[in-house]
Symmetry: D2
Subunit: 137 residues, 4 copies
């Protein structure tokens, strides 16, 4: 019934931590980007392919809720799915899960669909179709 949920693993490095042995709050956004990129590759539609066709998806808004801390050397997983899919914008939702599958971060990012020079444009139908399978209420 439910659409499938893409999951991407990540091992926490020293570079990502700060004082008090936890990941710095901005760095979770790097993981969202990493998981998003891998999600598009998984759909057989890597972001670089769309960029070559003058289509990029800049983030215009984001929201993160920090529920627990990821620590050095933890193996975390980021889940990605779609919660909005419109003509010129789309919204991704995420959960970052810790080693015992506890929720570390809940987040969403809202994106515009634009040309490389940031003019709004319609999401290519081929891409919209691939994304639709990952849309959840």
């Amino acid at each position: 019934m439910d659409s499938p949920c893409f999951r991407h693993p990540h091992r926490v490095t020293y570079a990502e931590c700060t004082l008090g042995n936890h990941v710095y709050y901005a760095r979770y956004l790097n993981w969202l980007e990493e998981a998003r990129g891998e999600f598009f590759r998984h759909l057989d539609a890597p972001l670089l392919h769309w960029q070559a066709q003058d289509t990029i998806l800049p983030v215009i808004e984001c929201h993160l809720r920090y529920r627990a801390a990821a620590r050095y050397d933890d193996l975390v997983h980021t889940e990605v799915w779609l919660t909005e899919l419109e003509r010129v914008r789309l919204k991704f939702s995420y959960r970052i899960l810790g080693s015992r599958d506890e929720i570390i971060v809940e987040a969403w990012t809202l994106h515009a669909c634009t040309s490389v020079h940031e003019k709004p444009k319609r999401l290519p139908e081929e891409l919209a179709e691939k994304l639709r399978a990952h849309l959840r209420a």
Copy 2:
């Protein structure tokens, strides 16, 4: 009438930019942290002082709206003020302004007040008082 608004300057470096000559979306959170730290110093209440007294202010939620892009070598300013000040939590609001004072990012961060080991605790009255002067509706 209005409470004063603290402003902190920042010069954009290559380290902060990504493809397409703009600042990477996660890096704006670094600037919020930088401005927040300077704001506490400006109040004569640096975060390190409170940490030495077993009080830290971890971020539990954040929201950013990207309105325009900051570019390499731009001189930007981050404005910081309070929009919520409760017993065990507080909310900061921010505007990052570009070289011509255009809005680049609007954001807020919600913080808990905790001990160094992350047990919730009441915001020290001395600190609450200093912050109150920067509270806006």
Copy 3:
């Protein structure tokens, strides 16, 4: 004859790039750290295990030679091996290889062996033995 050479893959993200579509020069050091951490795990001797035994390996010197640029979405590999293994210090050498196995970066990092409070101490014999198998002239 030759000792084996540990190799760790990495997919380049937007977070790691800067203007001109290449990885920012400091970020290659993150990859050295990431590969080093995985190398210790591969030896069945993760850094966190040694830290729990009051042994850490802070970097005291490093050198990088940039031969080519890694770009967004490239799949790169970092090779790690030992070139010095003494009582209280050790030196790692690295090559970061691009998608066509061309050399991107050649580097080394020199480390002290210390307690968590950074007092020099002798490298644990159990660890030295594991590392010796990866020592190359």
Copy 4:
């Protein structure tokens, strides 16, 4: 007698620290870049100006020696000067000094002079002249 030595201040943020309350080893390279950029501005020859004239200075080699650790909230200073100034390459040397002027890091970076598309080209004479005043044996 001695050429003047350019000095640039920097306040350490949480974003720059890692476990054990010290700055992550790669992040010192960000400070070298920041100080280098400000050094060129101080010479009235900002890097962006040269880029607009198809001249950039990519780093081709670097070396850092870590002598002590910078900590959260420290006010550090980076000193920059030239130690090599040739037709198509130049070398900067640096000292990062802590709050009590103790040496934190000694470093150098070697740069090529190239077009924006990374073809080697001769250092513009106007720039070479400005840099010469900061050349030390």
